[in-house]
Every structure is written in structure tokens, then in C-alpha cells.
């Protein structure tokens, strides 16, 4: 994997690992977050009959960079009544959860931070790490709005992990591995081998899998929307009720960290969907590198497909955000426990029965 290449290149194992750990941050998360914010503003502007940012740089492309520069210059305010150590560490805890998840994402067959066998499990575990950060931020600000936002957020994320994991388990039961790279590898070269279309399975089972897999994907997608606090589940940040939810008291770069984590999370959950259901880094219709006989082109194409599919799902999240109103907190819970979780269970059982067909 990439860390071994780098270790060989620098002749030092630790240096190689450190650099490979920092790579996704500088190569992908930061530029992606910058342009996801820009895209979100442009998408919303397009949907709302506005123009959107168009002043800084050509077509406003440098707008977010200017915003970040502004945020860096802001005074770093810690409220007098805040719990200082918690208040200061909370944004980094949240960001660490997001960042850690990137380690196991297979960007291509050769670029994956850490090719661990428990990839899916690991990502779900570390991304729920942010719950702690949210609770810390909400409590430390010593603000009632923050506290309400944090409480709602924790209840929401913990609840929605259940259907999300059940949906993933449904898929994993068929796939037979938790290693995201292997999952991607299986769904070779053509889109009908993607797991959402039954995967690379032979015979009648492939067709039987299609509907449960689509249901599993939809459940996972809805639950992941709730996990990253996006509309219609943006209740923790419900601006009309709770000002800004758990990050009400934050300013400057600390606020930017929450922002970065939010957009990072959006990509992580999309990347999980892509890896499991949409073929990961596999191209939907063969590689240009194969037909031209240029081997080094293939990984680059793979990275492109992975990012392209991931960004497409992020775009869907934005589209939903600017279309739908927000649920109320009790409706959110009943949606999770009364609908998503039972359906995910039934789906799991159905898929279990199908796997038994010989």
C-alpha cells in the first residue's frame, strides 16, 4: 500500500507512515471541503434562482479560500463561563473522528491509507467518535442552545447508527468481507457487478438480491444523512430554533473545524455507500488504461471514479438539503425506531434467506 511505498522511498518507516497519514488531508479533505462549500452555495443558488458567490476569483471560485482566510484572522473567543479545556478540544475531537475515517477509505486499488480487514467496522466506529466531540462542545459552551443542540445530536446519531449498521450488515452478509478494498475489488469492471445491482453473484440469486440491496442502500443513505446532521435531519443545528446548535459559541478557526468536519463527514458516508453499493473505485465500463495498454493510467482512473461517485452522492445530499423542510425531534426518533430499524431488520432476514438458496 501507499505507506509502504513511501517508507521505501524515504528509507524510514515512521516518516513514510506519517506522510501517508497526512496525504488525504492535504490532497483531498481540504480542497474537497473548500470546493464542497463552494458547490453547496452554487447548488443552492441555482435551486433558489440566485447567482451565488461570483466576486472572489473567476466565478467566485476563490470565495471559500477568502472565507477561510477571514476566519483565521478572527479573534479566538472563549466565553468566560465556558469549560475551557473541553471547549478548546471539542472541535479537534470532532475533526479527528472524520479524519480518521479517511484512513480506511480505498481511493484506488493502490491508494488506501490503511488496508485493514475491518475497514467498514472501523469507519463506523471512528465516525461515531464525533458524538463525544459534539457533547463536549455543547456542554462546554455553557449555553442552553448549545446544550439542547448537543443532546439532540447525540440522541440522533446514536439512534441512527442502528439502521445504518443493519443496512451495512445486510450487504456485508452477502459480500462476506469487511475490507473495503476487497469489496471494491469484487465489483469488477462493469456496473452490473455493483452490489446495488446484485453484485458479482451467479444465477438467480443475483436478481433476488437487487431489491433488498436497493432498500439497504436507501436505508443507509437516509440514516447517514441523519448521522452527518444534514437536512431533513439537521435538528441539532436547527437555526430557526437553536441558533446554531452545539457550535453556537464557537468563532474563528474552531468554527471552521466544525464546518470542515461536517463536509468531511458528508464525503465519508458517501464514500462508504460508494464502496459497498456502487463499485468503489471500479469504473462502470472498463478502463481506458487497459484498452490503451498504459498501466499507470488505471489507478488514476480509479481515483477519478471514486471521487466522482462520492461527489455525486454529496451533491444528492445538497440537493435534499435545499428541497426539504426539517423534521421535528420526536418525528425524527419515530422515523428511526418505527420505520427504518424494523425495515432494515426485515431486509436483513430476507437477504439471509436468499443467501441460503443453493
Amino acid at each position: 500500500m501507499i505507506s509502504d511505498y513511501l517508507a521505501e522511498f524515504f528509507g524510514n518507516k515512521i516518516l513514510g507512515y506519517l506522510i501517508s497519514a497526512a496525504l488525504p488531508l492535504f490532497l483531498w479533505i481540504l480542497p474537497y471541503a473548500l470546493y464542497a462549500v463552494y458547490a453547496e452555495r452554487k447548488v443552492s443558488a441555482f435551486m433558489q434562482d440566485r447567482i451565488g458567490p461570483n466576486r472572489v476569483g473567476p466565478k467566485g471560485l476563490l470565495q471559500t479560500i477568502a472565507d477561510i482566510l477571514k476566519l483565521i484572522q478572527k479573534e479566538d473567543i472563549v466565553p468566560a463561563s465556558a469549560d475551557k479545556p473541553l471547549f478548546v478540544t471539542a472541535p479537534y475531537v470532532i475533526f479527528a473522528g472524520t479524519f480518521a475515517a479517511f484512513a480506511a477509505l480505498p481511493f484506488s486499488s493502490v491508494y488506501i491509507g490503511s488496508n485493514i480487514d475491518l475497514g467498514v467496522f472501523y469507519i463506523m466506529a471512528v465516525s461515531s467518535f464525533s458524538v463525544i466531540g459534539i457533547l463536549m462542545a455543547g456542554w462546554a459552551g455553557n449555553n442552553k442552545y448549545s446544550l439542547y443542540g448537543a443532546m439532540r445530536s447525540v440522541a440522533q446519531i446514536v439512534s441512527y447508527e442502528v439502521p445504518a449498521l443493519l443496512a451495512i450488515v445486510t450487504a456485508v452478509m452477502v459480500i462476506g468481507t469487511l475490507n473495503l478494498n476487497e469489496i471494491s475489488q469484487m465489483q469488477t469492471s462493469r456496473f452490473w457487478n455493483w452490489w446495488i445491482l446484485g453484485g458479482p453473484v451467479e444465477g438467480i440469486q443475483k436478481f433476488l438480491y437487487i431489491i433488498p440491496m436497493i432498500i439497504a442502500f436507501i436505508i443507509f443513505f437516509i440514516a447517514s444523512l441523519a448521522e452527518v446532521n444534514r437536512t431533513p435531519f439537521d435538528i441539532p443545528e436547527a437555526e430557526s430554533e437553536l441558533v446554531a446548535g452545539f457550535h453556537t459559541e464557537y468563532t474563528g478557526m474552531k468554527f471552521a473545524m466544525f464546518f470542515l468536519a461536517e463536509y468531511g463527514n458528508m464525503f465519508v458516508v458517501s464514500a462508504i455507500s460508494v464502496s459497498i453499493f456502487f463499485g468503489g473505485w471500479q469504473s462502470p465500463f472498463g478502463y481506458l488504461g487497459n484498452s490503451l495498454g498504459i498501466n499507470w493510467l488505471i489507478p488514476i482512473e480509479q481515483v477519478f471514479w471514486f471521487l466522482f461517485k462520492g461527489s455525486l452522492l454529496v451533491l444528492v445530499q445538497m440537493w435534499l438539503r435545499w428541497t426539504l423542510p426539517r423534521l421535528r425531534v420526536d418525528q425524527l426518533m419515530s422515523l428511526c425506531w418505527k420505520y427504518l430499524t424494523p425495515y432494515a431488520f426485515i431486509n436483513l432476514v430476507i437477504v439471509g434467506i436468499i443467501t441460503l438458496i443453493k
Binding site: 443552492s44 433558489q48 439542547y148 430557526s240 435545499w322 428541497t323 423542510p325 425531534v329 420526536d330 418525528q331
Partner: protein, 372 residues
């Protein structure tokens, strides 16, 4: 098991809060997420309108009325000038009456667009708000064509109007009405019949008809509770008796009569009816001079008058006392938002925090009018 002892929390919403629709402060007592009590604190926007009016001549009061309900300035003018005209027994030209009705109904559409749009934001839907503002912008353009102002018009004068309609006004108005019907359909598709929106607003903040009447609620808030009461029909002023339109009332289609959805839908349907009134007015409007009846000196005889109109927010009443001088002795305003706001605690108790915001949005208050 002994009952778990819990504390109530007092949450202070406002005066700087994104969804209090101005500088309103709500003192909310919460038990977890459940609302135990709401206390509205008003007065942050008090500008002594009534006292100021005593030091002004009658025409000088008009710009102050603009600033009361700043989302419906035309209607604020409308009520005041009609009241003074009745006090002075001035008969205004027919053309003036028609233009006033057109302006008033356009203003009603503009005001309801803001109400409906901001209600969408309160529920969490941001996009319909901008669609509403896009249409409101076109109404403001129309107003700008007549008097140059986009928010505070000072357009209706005692006995007439500041300017006649420019020649391109009517064609532009017609094209606006044509497009606006489409926008209303779009609004219904995107917001009114959205499943999440209905879940959030149906059966929330139910205001029974008798409570609404007892508290003196008027306008869409009263009609949302199913009471057929519209001053344009029940106590016609100006020339409203010449037009054919329906009074929209809440029917409890999605939940109980008098819930947030009903109040919201009454506004949406009223916009449609306002379009009908404007269309009829355009057909009938005569030619004439809009400034011919403006008196040189506004000096009403000794006496007093209470005159009420159906403003977009409800019954707007002006009680003007004249002592025969150039200045009014007293101008008392019955502001509809002020009366409608007091119902908020009644309809919010027992609901969740998010519902306070929905209830407040469905009441459609304007603080400029409440505090005056």
C-alpha cells in the same frame, strides 16, 4: 419507583434570534423539550408613534404609519387616509379608490409572501422563501414605478395619491399576475403539500374558534380557525363591495381546524383571491385626476372616528380624535399583530420547542406594528 425529580429550564429566545421575526423576546419555560410556558416580552421597537402623531399635522402622520407594519405599508396608509377622509367628509375620485384597492391587494400579496416564506424557514425549508421573495420583488418593482419607494411608500395621501399610475404599470401588473399564478402552484408543490411540512404543521398550535374570538384575533389567524370574518366582506369599506371574491377559511384538511397548516393555507389562498380582486379592478378602473380632491389644508372638524380595515395581518383600526386644529389630538391604533401575538402562549403550551417557532411563524407578526 419514586418519580424522578427534574428541573425546568428557562430559555431566553431573543431579542436577537433568527426566527422571532423582529426584536421579540420570548421567555420560554421548558421541561426537557416540552414547553411549559411562553411569555412574550415586547417593546424593543417602541418608537412612540401615537405620541409623535399628536405633534404632527395630519398629512405628516402618513410616513409614520408606513413604519408600523413595514411589510404592509400601503395598507397602513390606506387605513389612515380613509379614516381622515371620513372625518373630513372628503369624497375621493373613483380612480383613486381603484388604485388604492389595487395597491392594497398587491401589498397583501407581498405581505403574505413574506409570511409564507419565513414560515417555510421556520420549518427548515429555505428555498421556498427565496421563491417568495423573488415574486415579492416584482411587486416592489411595481410600487417603485408609482412612487419611487420600495418599502415605505407614503403613497396614499389624504384625498388622493402622491402620483398617478405610470402608463406601463398596468401591462406589467398583468404579466406579474399571470406569472404569479404559476408561482403559487410551485409553492404548493414545494411546500404546502410536502409530507414533512404537513407533519410539522398539522395538528400543531390548534386555536379553537371560540378562543380566537375571545382573544380578539383577526385576519388569517381568525380565519384559520374556521371563522368566516373578513372586513372586506363583513364591513365593506372603500369599494370592496364591488368585487367578487371568496373569504378563505381554515377547514382542517390536514389535521384539526385552526392548526398551523390552516393558518398558513389561508394566506396562500388569500393571495389567489387578491389576484382576482386586482384583475377585476384593472377591468373597471376609470380615468381621472388622482390629486384633484387633495385639500390644501387638512383641518378636520371637532370629532372622533374609529375606522377599521382588513390589513394583511388582521383588523387594523385607527381611532382619531380631532380638536379642530391642524394636529390630531389623539391617534390610537388597534394593531392586529399585537392582539394576535397574545394567543402564542395558549397555543404553544404542551408542544415542543420547535413548535413555538412554527406557531409564531403561523401568527405572522410584525414587531413594528406591535410596539409602534
Amino acid at each position: 419507583m419514586a418519580e424522578l425529580k427534574t428541573d425546568q429550564i428557562v430559555l431566553n429566545m431573543g431579542p436577537q434570534h433568527p426566527s422571532t421575526h423582529g426584536v421579540l423576546r420570548l421567555e420560554v419555560v421548558l421541561d426537557g423539550e416540552v414547553v411549559v410556558d411562553v411569555k412574550p416580552h415586547i417593546g424593543y421597537l417602541h418608537r412612540c408613534f401615537e405620541k409623535h402623531a399628536e405633534a404632527m399635522t395630519y398629512p405628516q402622520v402618513i410616513p409614520y404609519t408606513d413604519r408600523m407594519d413595514y411589510l404592509a405599508s400601503m395598507y397602513m396608509n390606506f387605513g389612515y387616509v380613509e379614516a381622515v377622509e371620513r372625518l373630513m367628509n372628503i369624497e375621493v375620485p373613483e380612480r383613486v379608490k381603484y388604485i388604492r384597492v389595487i395597491m392594497g391587494e398587491l401589498q397583501r400579496i407581498a405581505s403574505h409572501l413574506v409570511a409564507v416564506g419565513t414560515f417555510g424557514i421556520d420549518i427548515g425549508a429555505f428555498t421556498p422563501f427565496l421563491y417568495c421573495f423573488r415574486d415579492r420583488e416584482r411587486i416592489l418593482d411595481l410600487f417603485e414605478m408609482t412612487c419611487g419607494a420600495r418599502l415605505l411608500y407614503n403613497y396614499m395621501w389624504i384625498g388622493g395619491l402622491s402620483h398617478d399610475l405610470p402608463p406601463q404599470f398596468i401591462p406589467k401588473l398583468k404579466s406579474f399576475l399571470k406569472d404569479f399564478r404559476k408561482s403559487l402552484k410551485e409553492l404548493n408543490d414545494l411546500l404546502s403539500y410536502n409530507k414533512i411540512f404537513i407533519d410539522r404543521t398539522a395538528n400543531i398550535g390548534v386555536l379553537p374558534a371560540d378562543t380566537a374570538i375571545n382573544y380578539g384575533c383577526t385576519g388569517p389567524v381568525l380565519r384559520g380557525s374556521g371563522v368566516n370574518w373578513d372586513l372586506r366582506k363583513n364591513d365593506p369599506y372603500s369599494i370592496y363591495d364591488r368585487f367578487d371574491f371568496e373569504v378563505c377559511v381554515g377547514k382542517g384538511e390536514m389535521g384539526t381546524v385552526g392548526d398551523c397548516w390552516d393558518r398558513y393555507m389561508v394566506r396562500v389562498r388569500e393571495m389567489e383571491q387578491s389576484c382576482r380582486i386586482i384583475e377585476q379592478a384593472i377591468e373597471q378602473i376609470p380615468d381621472g385626476d388622482v390629486t384633484s380632491a387633495i385639500p390644501k389644508r387638512v383641518k378636520p372638524p371637532v370629532g372622533e372616528i374609529y375606522f377599521r380595515v382588513e390589513s394583511p395581518k388582521g383588523e387594523l383600526g385607527y381611532h382619531i380624535v380631532s380638536d379642530g386644529s391642524l394636529n390630531p389630538f389623539r391617534v390610537k391604533v388597534r394593531a392586529p399583530s399585537f392582539v394576535n401575538l397574545q394567543i402564542l402562549p395558549i397555543i404553544s403550551r404542551g408542544h415542543l420547542v420547535a413548535d413555538i417557532i412554527a406557531n409564531l411563524g403561523s401568527l405572522d407578526i410584525v414587531l413594528g406594528e406591535i410596539d409602534r
